[in-house]
Amino acid sequence: MQHAESMKEYRERLQGSLDNSFLRETLDKFAVAYKANRLTIFADINEKELIQEIAAAKDEGLTKIEELYTQFKDEAEKRGVHVHRAATAAEANEIVCRIAKENNCKLVIKSKSMTAEEIHINHALEEHGCKVVETDLGEWIIQLRHEGPTHMVMPAIHLSRYQVADTFTDETKLKQDSDIGKLVKVARRELRSRFANADMGISGANFAVADTGTIGICTNEGNGRLTTTLPRVHVALAGIDKLVPNIHDALRIIRVLPRNATAQAITTYVSWMTGSAENTLTPDKRKIMHVIFLDNGRTALAQDEICKSALRCVRCGACANVCPVYRLVGGHQMGYVYIGAIGLILTYFFHGRENARNLVQNCINCEACKDVCAAGIDLPGIIQEIRARLVEEEGAPAQSTLLAKVLENRKIFHSLLRFGKFAQRPVTGGTPYIRHLPQIFMKGQGFRALPAIASKAFRDRWKDIEKSLPANGKIRVGLFAGCAQDFVYPEQLEAAVKVLAAGGCSVEFPMGQSCCGLPVRMMGEREAAEKTALANIKAFDPARLDYIVTLCASCASHIKNHYVELLADAPGMRTEAQQFASRIRDFSSFVYDVLGMKEDAFRNSGEKIGYHASCHLCRGLNVTEQPRKLIRAAGDYKESKEEDVCCGFGGTYSMKFPEISGQILQHKLDNLEASGAATIVADCPGCVMQIRGGEEKRGNKVKVEHIAELLARQLK
């Protein structure tokens, strides 16, 4: 086993991937094409409904997994199949090796199976003296190169045709052309003889139908059909979570899996194997068929109230397809065996802390994966839960603990922020940016200019602002500031107050409010996250207010989606947490939907305005139309490519992985630049900070601001 990798070593690996221009270009093209193709292929299907059905059916199935297993075993055995159950990877390997020995198998061929990779079956069989050949083209290529997969569906996506030609040249001892059509033919020729001579075929299973004892596999190449037909012995490996009650459930998985994986309506082949079918090589002319269900922690995970939904996964790989981090660094850096967001999670549960520790930090929490997940899994939520468990299991890194301690006490936190504005004086050079911080504090942060702390925080300006507001507004609004705006961008809040007052609100700013708690939750500091939530609820006394408005999409999404669950065990707080969460609104949808401020409320300046759709607004809160309509009311909206892709900020993420944050930002800036916008607005101060800092670094003269500032300026 390798030594435990340090964060420093992991970051070095990430840098290696960032420097691989072929990988970057390939994944970029793929990310853009996938989204467009996925939209098309879901056009004639109710996607959300299908996903909900999958989630509900999988959840239901997990509660009766023992029943399903027993039923499957009975039905399959009636049809001549041997059914096994393996508690661990080692046990599964032992069973496979025993079957190989009993049947005198020397050459083993495999069709693609993530479960087989999970248990490292090739290694076990080779130790046992068998030769193992992968037959999925991508898997065969990486096997020849002694590499792991970089995508669950496209394992060799990181390689170029030239690298494949070199690999095939080495394997065949003949010079191979780099033409892709010819390379595919090389595989056809080379692998056919392996199919013909193999003694055992190993497949996975995309589903196992309990009702009829059927396993099903989906493949495009057809290697699955040959693997399960030609050899005398067929061993299918399946996670026990692949059991479904009936054919309807299987058909439902077939509807979603290829659509979400590769934007196909269906894979070219779906093979349904009900019992051991004909095989002319055996004495009784029936295939020797074994199905092994692997547990490896799954039944325990099924009991884990917070993380069990990870077992709904159908292994489509879509979470990698849309991940802005995966797009930059590829699969070797985004998983151990399983790849992408689900890979970060399953590594922790199937392959242990050691392998998961650094990986689970590498999620920017943009929720793009959650948005496309075929089974509706809250992937970022589970990743954060795992971070919390890692902190509980092995303690937190020093900077995390410090932040947690500071945030738990609002007064200390706010004093520190106020102190910061004096401390930073020597480094700002009189500009709104931090310019001359010693290298030690700025490591890797060179991709953006960081803002300075404002000379007077919003909370210290509030008394004066409050005096100028009209009393007796028709709607009572509590303003939730969030740290970034309170202390760094108070002008954004001032602008918002102006708009809210114009819309007829009376605005309150409770002084006891503090950080929403998202940063500590991201770091796995559960207790600090609970304490900040409690403090905010107490400060607002939500029942008195009609709405609580925040200009920070991340705060809004965190409060709305997580406060209730965070405080589920806090005595007597459930109702208030619910009241708080249900009153929270983001600024744009509040102004447009609740205040009804539309075209006639604003002067249209005609200026070219670009928009960045903040992750926690468009996905966290499903607010997409309102800000765009408001922009159209105030100026000339210039749409840019990939507006809803993360800007790379991700709060503490950009401090932890600045090299990745910086690269994601460059994509964003390129797209915004191409739109020709002179002003860029967003609904989140973090995004404003990131994009403004990047534009400043590029020396671009575009204005980057919060949408509230634009609207306040254009108020009629």
Partner: protein, 204 residues
């Protein structure tokens, strides 16, 4: 008399095109057979893929005689077909596919069902010969009756249920030629199985 869901038939044709399935409308089984034989006639000789690693990798080896197989026809259907194929000089066979893993030219089969929304044909493949023929042939021609086409996959659920609950079965959903995009995501047909899938769509 089986009824035809015209909407489903149109949908099948519409969904077949983007996944490179060639759909040809024919009157009956005789026309479907003629179409399959013509296809075999017109195609290039089969590229043999299994005659020892060194030889095959060195270059393309072509068959000298066309081979045509039809593993799931009834005896009557097969004997009519075999006579016609022999006239054209093809080697005709309906079993023993394991002996021809280096490749055959055309596999002709009849479908057991179809799903329009994904252009899927369903073939019961309990027999090893049916499974192998539909994989090792360069061109696979399926005879499908319009009345067999259902609109969605859920519409074939009762059929599948009946098929699988009665005993041992190997069922194939086939929705195109064997394909891969594993090298640079470039779509390439014929990686392990057929390079082409044709549907001879029969009235009735």
């Amino acid at each position: 008399m089986a009824t035809i869901d015209k909407e489903a038939v149109e949908l099948f044709k519409q969904k077949a095109a983007p996944v490179s399935i060639k759909v040809v409308e024919v009157k009956d089984m005789a026309e479907a057979v003629a179409y399959a034989l013509d296809t075999c006639e017109k195609k290039d000789f089969c590229e043999l893929v299994y005659c020892g690693t060194e030889q095959t990798s060195a270059g393309i080896v072509k068959a000298e005689k066309k081979m045509f197989c039809a593993p799931n026809l009834t005896d009557k259907e097969y004997s009519a077909l075999a006579a016609l194929g022999a006239e054209r000089g093809f080697d005709m066979l309906r079993s023993g596919m394991r002996g021809h893993l280096e490749g055959i030219d055309v596999a002709f089969t009849t479908a057991d069902g179809a799903v329009a929304e994904t252009a899927t044909t369903i073939i019961e493949c309990m027999s090893e010969d049916v499974r192998l023929a539909t994989m090792i042939a360069e061109v696979h021609v399926v005879a499908l009756k319009k009345s067999q086409i259902k609109k969605t996959s859920y519409d074939v659920e009762p059929y599948l249920q009946k098929l699988m609950e009665k005993g041992v079965m190997y069922t194939a959903f086939i929705s195109g030629a064997s394909r891969t995009a594993d090298i640079e995501r470039v779509l390439t047909l014929g990686v392990h199985g057929p390079l082409e899938l044709h549907i001879a769509l029969m009235e009735g």
